[in-house]
C-alpha cells in the first residue's frame, strides 16, 4: 500500500468515528439510545439493515468463493425478497405495535417469561461468540495485507466501532451504516469496473464470460432435488427463505434496526428496500469475483494467496522443491493463458478441451503447493479463499483506490460489529437487567448501564477475537450450536403470530424439540445446512401445536 492508500484509510477511520459521535448526540433515554427515538426514515433504516448483513467476510469471502467455485452461492439470497414480504405482513406489525425493544420481549407478552428468557439467552450466546468471529476473520486477512499485527487490527477495528456505538447508540449505528453502505456500494462498482477495464486488449467482457462459463463459474441454477447437495435452486428458495425469515425476523441485530422506524410504514419500507436490491447487489459482488478469476489468466497469481503462508513456504520448503513448484506453476499459467486466448479466438467453433486441460494442470500445481504448506504446518488444513480479493486490490489498484477498497472492507466489518454491539447491549439490558434486576430506575441510570453493556460486549468481542487463534475449535462448536436453534426460534415466533391458541408450554417444549431435531439431522445425516432452519421451524411449529392440542390444559399447567 502506498502513502496515499494509508492516507485514504486513516481519513476513513477518523472520519467515521467523528461522524458517528456527532450523529449520535442528544441521547437522553433508552428509547433514544436503543431505538434512535423511533424517528428514522425508511431509506436510512434500509441501508442500515443492508450494512448490518454485509460483513467484511461476506464481501471478501464471496468474491473469493466466486473466484474458486463460481456464482452458485447467489442462491442463498433467492429467498430473501419473499422473506421480507412475509415479515412485513406477519411479524413486523406485531413487533411495532407492541412497542417492544427486543423481539424476545414480545414472546413474554404472548407466551411466558421463560420462553422470552431462553430465546434471548440463545441470541446472546450465539451472537456474542459470533461477534468475536466477525471481528477476528477480517482482522486476520487485513493484518496480512497491511503488514500489521493481528492484535493491532483487532483493536483498531473493534476500538473505533466501540467508540461511536458507546456514545451514540443506535442513532450512531444507523447513520454510520448509511455512510458505510455508500462507501461499500462505491467500492463494489469500482472493483467491478476496474476488473473489466484491466482485461487485456482484444479480450472483451463477453470473452471473459465465455471463459468463466466454460469452467462452470456462471452456473447458478442447479435444479437438483438433493437435500445434501450445496447451493441448489431449491435449497436457496426454501432453505434460504427460512434462513432469511430467521435472521431478519428473530435476530435482534436486525429487528432492532427496523424497530427504529418512525412508523410501521417506514419499518416495512426499510425491509422492502432490501428486497428490491439485495439479489442484484450480491450478483454484482459475485460477478466481480469471477472477473478477478479471468483477470488472473493474464497476470500471474501468487502460488498461495495468503502472503504470510507464502513466506513460510519460502522459508521452510527446500530450495529445490520451491523452485520446482514455481517453475511448474509459471509454465502451467503460461499454457493456460495461451489456451484461454486460443479459446476466445475460436469461440463458437472450437472446443474448450485444451483450455480445461490447462486449467486443471494449473490447479494441480497449486494443489501440490497447498499440500506442501499443510505438511509444513503439521497437517493443518489450508484455505486462502478470503485472501484472494484483498491481494488483488493491493496489487493492482492504484492512486489511493487500494486504500479506499481496504476502507470498504473496514466499513463492512464495522457496520456489522456496530449493529451487533448495540443489539447485544439491548438484549442484556431489556431482557435481563431491567426484567430481573432493576426494573424501575431513572432514565440517566438506564442510559449509563446501556452504555456500559455496549462497552462490555465490545470488550468481550475484542477478547474473543484476540484469543480466536487458540479458541478455534470452540468457536466452531458455538457457531454450529447457533445454527441448531436459528430456525427453532423462528418456529416459536410462527406459533406466536400464526396460531392464537398455541400455549406457552407448547412453545417452550417445541423449541427444545426443534433444537434437538436439528442437532440430530446435523449429526446423523449429510443434509446441507441451508435446510436446518426449515427442519427447526417446522418441528417447533408441529410439536408446539401438537402439545397445545393433545396435552391442552395439563401442559399449560406444567
Amino acid at each position: 500500500m502506498t502513502p496515499l492508500d494509508w492516507t485514504v484509510l486513516v481519513v476513513y477511520l477518523v472520519g467515521i468515528v467523528a461522524f458517528g459521535v456527532w450523529a449520535g448526540r442528544g441521547n437522553k433515554a433508552m428509547d433514544d439510545f436503543f431505538l434512535a427515538g423511533r424517528k428514522m426514515r425508511w431509506w436510512a433504516v434500509g441501508l442500515s439493515v443492508m450494512a448490518t448483513q454485509i460483513s467484511a467476510i461476506t464481501f471478501v469471502g464471496t468474491t473469493g468463493q466466486a473466484y474458486t467455485d463460481g456464482m452458485r452461492f447467489l442462491v442463498v439470497y433467492f429467498g430473501l425478497p419473499f422473506a421480507m414480504v412475509i415479515l412485513c405482513v406477519t411479524l413486523v406489525p406485531f413487533f411495532y405495535r407492541a412497542r417492544v425493544f427486543t423481539a424476545y420481549e414480545y414472546l413474554e407478552r404472548r407466551f411466558d417469561a421463560r420462553t422470552r428468557t431462553l430465546t434471548s439467552l440463545l441470541f446472546l450466546l450465539s451472537r456474542g461468540m459470533a461477534v468475536g468471529v466477525t471481528l477476528y476473520a477480517p482482522s486476520l486477512v487485513l493484518s496480512v495485507i497491511m503488514g500489521w499485527r493481528e492484535s493491532t487490527t483487532i483493536l483498531v477495528m473493534g476500538g473505533s466501532t466501540i467508540a461511536y456505538v458507546f456514545y451514540g447508540g443506535n442513532k450512531s449505528v444507523i447513520w454510520t451504516d448509511v455512510v458505510q453502505m455508500g462507501i461499500i456500494w462505491f467500492g463494489i462498482f469500482l472493483c467491478f469496473g476496474v476488473a473489466i477495464a484491466q482485461l487485456p486488449a482484444g479480450f472483451g467482457f463477453s470473452d471473459a464470460l465465455a471463459l468463466a462459463q466454460t469452467t462452470g463459474r456462471l452456473r447458478v441454477m442447479d435444479p437438483s432435488p438433493s437435500l445434501t447437495a450445496p447451493y441448489t435452486l431449491w435449497s436457496g428458495l426454501v432453505g434460504g427463505l427460512f434462513l432469511m425469515l430467521s435472521y431478519f425476523g428473530c435476530d435482534q441485530s436486525q429487528v432492532q434496526r427496523y424497530l427504529s422506524g418512525a412508523s410501521l410504514t417506514q419499518s416495512r419500507l426499510s425491509l422492502l428496500f432490501n428486497a428490491f436490491l439485495k439479489v442484484p447487489m450480491q450478483f454484482v459482488i459475485l460477478l466481480t469475483g469471477v472477473l478477478v478469476f479471468v483477470f488472473y489468466h493474464f497476470h500471474t497469481p501468487p502460488l498461495l494467496w495468503n502472503a504470510a503462508q507464502m513466506r513460510r513456504l519460502e522459508e521452510r520448503a527446500g530450495p529445490e522443491e520451491l523452485a520446482g513448484l514455481r517453475a511448474r506453476f509459471a509454465a502451467a499459467h503460461a499454457e493456460r493463458r495461451q489456451a484461454a486466448e486460443a479459446y476466445a479466438r475460436s469461440r463458437g467453433t472450437g472446443d474448450a478441451t485444451s483450455y480445461l486441460t490447462a486449467e486443471s494442470a494449473l490447479q494441480a500445481v497449486r494443489g501440490d503447493a497447498v499440500r506442501t504448506i499443510e505438511r509444513l504446518n503439521g497437517g493443518a488444513r489450508y484455505n486462502d479463499t478470503n485472501h484472494i480479493f484483498p491481494t488483488y486490490i493491493v496489487t493492482y489498484l492504484r492512486g489511493g483506490l487500494a486504500g479506499l477498497v481496504i476502507a470498504v472492507i473496514f466499513a463492512a466489518a464495522m457496520s456489522t460489529l456496530a449493529g451487533e454491539f448495540n443489539s447485544l447491549a439491548t438484549a442484556t439490558m431489556i431482557d435481563f437487567y431491567k426484567r430481573y434486576l432493576r426494573p424501575s430506575e431513572s432514565a440517566a441510570h438506564d442510559l449509563l448501564f446501556s452504555r456500559l453493556f455496549t462497552l462490555a460486549w465490545g470488550a468481550f468481542a475484542c477478547l474473543i477475537a484476540l484469543q480466536a487463534g487458540r479458541l478455534g475449535s470452540a468457536i466452531e462448536v458455538v457457531n454450529r450450536f447457533g445454527s441448531y436453534f436459528y430456525g427453532s426460534i423462528l418456529g416459536v415466533f410462527a406459533l406466536a403470530v400464526l396460531t392464537p391458541r398455541a400455549s406457552a408450554a407448547g412453545a417452550f417444549y417445541g423449541l427444545m424439540a426443534g433444537m434437538a431435531a436439528v442437532a440430530l439431522v446435523s449429526r446423523l445425516t449429510a443434509v446441507h445446512f441451508l435446510w436446518y432452519n426449515v427442519v427447526g421451524a417446522v418441528v417447533v411449529f408441529a410439536v408446539g401445536l401438537a402439545l397445545t392440542a393433545l396435552a391442552g390444559d395439563r401442559v399449560r399447567q406444567a
Binding site: D207, L209, M221, T265, Q266
Partner: protein, 41 residues
Amino acid sequence: MDEPPDDPVPIFGTWPRIYAAVIVWTLANLALIALFSAWAY
C-alpha cells in the same frame, strides 16, 4: 393484509401492490440470472 397505513405507501399506493411488485421484480431477477447462466457467450 392491507391495513390502513400510518404513512402513505409511496409510489405503489397500497401494500398489496408493493408486495406484488417485489415478487414480480424478484421473479424477473431469477429469470434474468437463469438466462445469464445459460447464455451462449
